[in-house]
């Protein structure tokens, strides 16, 4: 898999005025809700510290904790599977479906399953995966894909959704009131929840100590998928573990406040193996690597595995809030995507993503597990430069560096620039430059090199 270059993809998205308006309104709303509920807690910073340190501990002991999780979950009656990559995980899920003669599964929204394109894998195996999260359903019905971790259909407005429903699940629907649209999806999905023989979910957390799986959600579709069908398969990225049950006291405070800006999300489900007479009587858990151990190998970059997918970094990012998620070319958009995707699939396959940031640092400030995204971005930029090898840019940067290593050379360069700008500069401003600097002058004037540099002024003082 290779991600198409961000600058061009972003430029395409920027042309969509409706998208930009929707995005801005939505991200502003979530951002201010988050700020309000975070300010309510006197110990928010202490919770962030704890969250970050617990995750660092998980990564330090990941192999040990995975085995502990497997042992506990197995003892509680779950079947634990391991998958090196997405294809292997997909094959496991397809096999379980086949064993139960299932041709339709109900699915909880899960980035991990999107990452491994599970729906396509299942479709090939003759199994239809029905997305049951409201937004995911909308996207699935329209063959579209998510542009925001939390609000996947953030780029769609109510009229578009009404028209889509009229064409698909609710012929004749007239109202575009969100309540009526939600009702239409309730009616459509209820029938499918009640007849489902198999559910598929991701997981927000897995507890190593107890083998517990945790799913955090709002609509109740998650509860439907994880309690009604007799068979449940949950796919868990290996970094989703928490050492102890009590660690939930930290993460169940950090996640909802950072994510939806609520004190607590409507529903959190936790199950520990099979409970006789309650919920699925056959439980599977797939532990997925798919590039995560590659991320773990990078001492600086591995903190990206702390991520709990809250999406707070998207909502404050000056880049994401203009371009939306599709420009990032992966299921992980925004600042977290810019550091996670290149590490998961290899920097050579997503080399433009670490540059899709102004390094403003707003993401780091809101991250509930204190991922130093700007630092990782810089680290990955260096990786990208190394992976690219020789390039015009590298040569230029070397020459610039060499110039800066001597005040004499620097002074000379100032003089050369002053002469070189002559054809472009008028009244102390440059209005048009040739490529590659034309990117600057298409929307901005450039301050011209001064007639008298500071150093010449100082020398003549």
């Amino acid at each position: 898999m290779k991600v198409s270059p961000f600058p061009a993809a972003a430029e395409h998205e920027l042309a969509n005025v409706q998208l930009r308006r929707n995005l801005r309104a939505a991200t502003d709303t979530i951002q201010s809700k988050r700020a309000r509920v975070v300010a309510e807690l006197p110990d928010w910073e202490a919770l962030r510290d704890a969250g970050s340190e617990i995750k660092a501990d998980v990564l330090a002991r990941l192999d040990e904790l995975l085995v502990e999780f497997e042992t506990a979950a197995t003892a509680a009656g779950a079947h634990v599977h391991w998958a090196r990559d997405g294809a292997e995980a997909g094959a496991i899920v397809a096999r379980i479906a086949r064993e139960h003669d299932v041709d339709e599964v109900v699915k909880v929204k899960s980035l991990t399953t999107d990452e491994i394109q599970l729906n396509d894998v299942l479709a090939t195996a003759g199994v239809r995966a029905i997305e049951t999260d409201f937004a995911e359903l909308i996207l699935q019905l329209d063959g579209d894909w998510s542009s925001h971790i939390l609000v996947p259909a953030i780029h769609r407005n109510r009229t578009e959704i009404r028209d889509l429903f009229a064409r698909t699940i609710a012929p004749g629907i007239v109202s575009d009131d969100p309540a009526d649209l939600a009702e239409a999806s309730r009616v459509y999905l209820r029938e499918r929840f009640l007849r489902a023989k198999m559910g598929v979910s991701g997981a927000n957390f897995g507890i190593a100590e107890t083998g517990t799986v945790c799913v955090v959600e709002s609509e109740g579709n998650g509860r439907m998928c994880t309690t009604l069908p007799p068979v449940l398969v949950s796919i868990l990225g290996i970094e989703k573990l928490l050492p102890r049950f009590d660690d939930l006291e930290v993460f169940l405070q950090l996640l909802p406040r950072s994510s939806t800006g609520e004190r607590m999300n409507p529903y959190t489900s936790l199950w520990t193996g099979v409970t006789s007479g309650d919920g699925p009587q056959e439980l599977h858990i797939v532990l997925l690597d798919n590039g995560r151990t590659r991320v773990l190998r990078d001492e600086v970059g591995r903190q990206a595995l702390h991520c709990i997918r809250c999406s707070a970094c998207l909502n404050v990012c000056p880049v994401y809030t203009r371009t939306g998620g599709h420009a990032y070319g992966s299921v992980y958009p925004g600042p977290i995507g810019a550091i996670l995707t290149p590490q998961l699939i290899g920097i050579e396959n997503a080399s433009s993503l670490p540059y899709a940031s102004t390094l403003c640092g707003a993401c780091y400030e809101v991250c509930p597990v204190k991922i130093d995204i700007p630092r990782v971005l810089l680290h990955l930029r260096a990786e990208a430069v190394r992976a690219r090898g020789r390039s015009a840019e590298r040569l230029t940067m070397r020459i610039v560096g060499w110039t800066f290593e001597s005040a004499r050379r620097f002074t000379l360069a100032q003089r050369v620039a002053r002469t070189a700008q002559t054809p472009f500069a008028r009244g102390g401003l440059v209005r048009r430059l040739p490529p590659p600097l034309s990117g600057w002058t298409r929307s901005r004037d450039l301050r011209a090199v001064a007639k008298t540099s500071f150093r010449s002024w100082w020398a003549g003082r």
Binding site: F6, P7, A10, E11, L14, R20, P318, V319, R322, T323, P354, Y355, A356, S357, T358, L359, C360, G361, A362, Y364, L378, R381, A382, E383, A384, V385, R394, M397, R398, V400, G401, T403, F404, E405, A407, F410, Q414, A417, L429, R431, P436, L437, G439, W440, R442, S443, R444, D445, L446, R447, A448, V449, A450, T452, S453, F454, R455, W457, W458, A459
Partner: protein, 228 residues
């Protein structure tokens, strides 16, 4: 106090008036300012573009040039933040101008007069890396005749981001357009900040719009003695 002035490569080349203003303000307060002529660039450009080895060389060079000063001042918060991170021994003595004035020298009134409406853009690195806090605002509030006007979404990035402005020109321009809209809507005649690089972006956008609003470095406002 003997203060070493790091004027920055950008300031030296494009904005000599900013550096001159820093000298004016500090000398007015009775300090000795020295410009070590060997200085060039702190290496932030390289660090932010993926060339850490070159960046480190330039930081070491910076250390050897400025190591002997009681204090080092720069009119660029992002350069200060960069130097502080890569030269921790020097860090306690390197200041962005407003920090030096308010936090180190304890001065909030520098005797300036600038009878205009001004919007202050808190740059990202001054907020989150160098953490200058409200030092620039304290100084601005004491400038005679100056009317500080509120800026909508002040804390949002201007879209500069170094090479980002060129590599991702379309996105950078979209972010800048919103910043310029906010500045124009504020009714200010000037937008000020503590980073020359952000002012290069904002000033470039404002000039292109020809709306009459100008970008001006904080140092230049503090140096001004314009009467109403």
């Amino acid at each position: 106090m003997r203060i070493g002035l790091f004027v920055t490569c950008l300031g030296d080349t494009l904005y000599p008036e900013t550096g001159r203003a820093v000298v004016t303000v500090l000398e007015r307060l009775g300090h000795e300012v020295v410009f070590p002529a060997e200085q060039t660039c702190c290496g932030q450009l390289h660090a932010n573009s993926g060339y850490p080895d070159e960046a480190l060389k330039l930081v070491r060079r910076f250390e050897s040039i400025f190591g002997s000063y009681d204090a080092v001042v720069s009119p660029s918060s992002s350069c200060v933040g960069h130097v502080r991170e890569l030269a921790p021994e020097l860090a306690p003595r390197v200041f962005e101008l407003s920090e030096l004035l308010v936090n180190r020298l304890g001065v909030e009134d520098v005797g300036a007069s600038f009878p205009h409406r001004v919007a202050y853009h808190p740059t990202c690195h001054s907020l989150r890396v160098t953490k200058v806090g409200d030092a620039p605002l304290r100084l601005l509030r004491n400038v005679r005749g100056l009317e500080l006007v509120p800026l909508e979404r002040a804390e949002e990035c201007c879209g500069f981001g170094g090479t980002f402005a060129v590599k991702n020109a379309a996105t950078s321009s979209a972010i800048l357009a919103d910043k310029c809209d906010a500045i124009e809507a504020s009714g200010a005649g000037y937008c000020t900040a503590v980073d020359g690089s952000c002012l290069l972006q904002i000033g470039g956008g404002l000039e292109r719009r020809s709306g009459g609003v100008r970008a001006l470095h904080l140092a230049e406002i503090l140096a001004a003695t314009e009467s109403a």
